[in-house]
């Protein structure tokens, strides 16, 4: 401490360099999105903000893709998936944490299998299943493969294990019905686990691309990432980099803003998600 030793200075310099490089693409996005469209072509990469920010790029982006619909579809997919997942993972997590039954370990390993064989690797057979179920080109088809979540079950099992059994027993002694037990005791106590799982789930489905790309065929059912991809191709051929920056900004902003607001929550749930 205090002594300016050369190795420490070097480390600090290297660290600053890495952080500088890391911040550049997003910094450029934020600056380029608010620049006038006729901004000097060859200096497009400059990182000096223009001092008369404009929303022209956003107007153009909103014009060339149906962003309200894309937002709506993405929100439906994220919340719909989450709602079903919260039900399935809470029930199964409780069973693994509290109940004794034959073959428990085997069943648990059967669940854990999904941590590795994640749905993206099974896109080919899942597409067959989805088509047979008549869910091709529907938002339900985008969501269905994710309705069971091994990660969520694992997380809820851990959560229920941290809740002392006394609470449940006390509620039973007090004459609580099963329904009251669930809604007044278990759900409130398990909320931290649910929030952690919810954040990870929403982030990953907000960002998902390959599976929706395979399942969805009409523009009506596209999600933000698909919209952004096709919109980017169009804008690229016209070299409208400011518009691409604005479109990317629109897609990424909700999550970045949520992170800025709830940083601690996010970090904790992502640490949990190591077992995803």
């Amino acid at each position: 401490m205090g002594r300016a030793n050369p190795a420490a200075l070097l480390a600090l310099a290297a660290l600053s360099a890495v952080v500088l490089v890391w911040s550049t693409p997003l910094l450029w996005m934020a600056i380029a999105a608010f620049r006038p469209q006729n901004f000097g072509g060859l200096d497009m990469a400059s990182l000096w903000p223009d001092f008369v920010p404009t929303l022209d790029n956003f107007a153009e982006a909103l014009d060339s893709a149906d962003f309200p619909l894309l937002y709506l579809n993405t929100v439906v997919v994220c919340l719909g998936t989450l709602a079903v997942q919260l039900t399935t993972v809470t029930l199964a997590g409780y069973a693994f944490a509290r109940l004794r039954f034959p073959g428990k370990e085997l069943v648990f390993y059967g669940f854990l299998l999904q941590l590795m064989l994640v749905p993206p690797i099974l896109i080919v057979p899942n597409l067959v299943t989805i088509t047979r179920l008549g869910l091709y080109d529907s938002l339900l088809g985008v969501m269905a493969p994710y309705f069971a979540s091994a990660f969520g079950v694992f997380l809820m099992r851990q959560t229920f294990r941290t809740i002392p059994k006394d609470f449940e027993e006390a509620a039973i002694v007090d004459g609580a019905t099963w329904w009251q037990l669930v809604w007044r005791v278990l759900v409130p106590l398990a909320r931290p686990g649910m929030v952690a799982f919810g954040i990870v789930s929403v982030v990953s489905h907000w960002n998902e691309f390959l599976w929706p790309l395979m399942v969805v065929s009409t523009p009506d059912n596209q999600t933000l990432t698909i919209g952004l991809a096709s919109f980017t191709m169009g804008a690229e051929s016209a070299s409208q980099w400011g518009v691409i920056a604005a479109g990317t900004f629109l897609v990424a902003a909700p999550l970045l803003a949520a992170f800025a607001l709830f940083q601690r929550q996010f970090v904790n749930s992502f640490l949990f998600s190591g077992v995803k």
């Binding site: 890495v18 890391w22 990469a45 749905p119 691309f209």
Partner: protein
């Protein structure tokens, strides 16, 4: 009163013990059923289905189907598949080693909880939240020859224009750079958590015995981060196999298959060539690879955890 209630619970418990065990199993089945239905439909059944499909040979224009290893033969004879396999190995090494090294360095460098460090950590973590497609859209400009971010600033250092995505020798490297940028912040998070679990008096003792900062890192930090390291490695491996969104947006596997990765190859066969037999055969091999990897990594994880205690 209390004793009476306890007595009643106790009696009931004894009376219902054997029946209770059975009803617990019944309740468990009920609670597990929703998850199991979806797991069966979208994890277990697809594995059987894809194996069946990989062994089915359909002839165009005829209703008869034959069974055999034809799809696998065609797959292995396809040069693009070989390229995808090799590319995926290069991509795995090229992304995992640097992103873990950078993540570790950042975690060690930014571990003290100052406000400045917190800001820097946020900057490094932002790319994690970005959809891979959005990151790819941004990097379309980063890699733009001549006027893009990379060339614009490299030109100041005297470098010429480079076709980062169009040159078969560079394209995979460019995708690797994007992936490292995107994932390092995520892995940093785990290392930061791992570092917090290392007792400070270990460092204190080492310092008293005259160990320099590099020795402290080599002898204390690195070994004690073993379990975290194994953990991060598993996540990184899964990422390498399951995330190809940037390939779709930036290169479509080209130029001349130089950036084709396994999952993108599968997607191409199924979605663009409608060759479901070949796509299924490639899926079967990938699933087998993933299962083998997860078995290995589980064992590594276990060893890592034993090491800790």
């Amino acid at each position: 009163m209390v004793a009476e209630v306890e007595g009643r619970i106790g009696m009931a418990a004894i009376g219902r013990r054997s029946a209770g065990r059975r009803s617990q199993a019944g309740r468990a089945a009920l609670l597990l059923a929703p998850s199991l239905v979806f797991l069966a439909a979208f994890t277990y059944w697809p594995i059987g289905q894809v194996i069946g499909q990989s062994l089915t040979i359909e002839t165009f224009g005829s209703d008869t189907v034959a069974y055999g290893l034809g799809n696998f033969e065609r797959l292995l004879a396809d040069d693009s598949f070989g390229r995808a396999l090799v590319n995926n190995l290069v991509y795995a090494l090229g992304t995992i080693v640097p992103s873990i090294a950078i993540a570790l360095a950042l975690a060690v460098g930014l571990q003290d909880a100052t406000r400045f460090n917190a800001a820097l950590r946020t900057v490094v973590f932002f790319p994690v939240l970005l959809p891979l497609v959005a990151a790819a859209a941004l990097f379309l400009f980063v890699f733009l020859p001549g006027i893009g971010l990379l060339d614009y600033y490299l030109a100041r250092l005297g470098a010429g224009n480079t076709n980062w995505l169009g040159d078969p020798d560079l394209a995979l490297g460019s995708l690797i750079a994007l992936t490292v940028w995107k994932n390092a912040g995520y892995y940093m998070l785990f290392f930061l958590a791992g570092l917090q679990a290392i007792p400070l008096d270990l460092y204190e003792a080492a310092r008293i015995e005259g160990a320099g900062s590099w020795a402290r890192f080599r002898r204390i930090t690195l070994p004690l981060l073993g379990p975290t390291m194994a953990f991060v490695l598993v996540i990184a491996l899964v990422n390498v196999i399951t995330q190809v969104d940037h390939v779709v947006v930036l290169t479509k596997g080209g130029p001349s298959d130089s950036t084709n990765l396994l999952l993108f190859y599968i997607y191409q066969q199924a979605h663009e060539n409608y060759d479901y037999g070949k796509a299924a055969a490639a899926t079967v091999l990938s699933v087998a690879g993933l299962l083998a990897l997860s078995f290995l990594s589980l064992r590594t994880l276990e060893r890592g955890i034993h090491y800790e205690t």
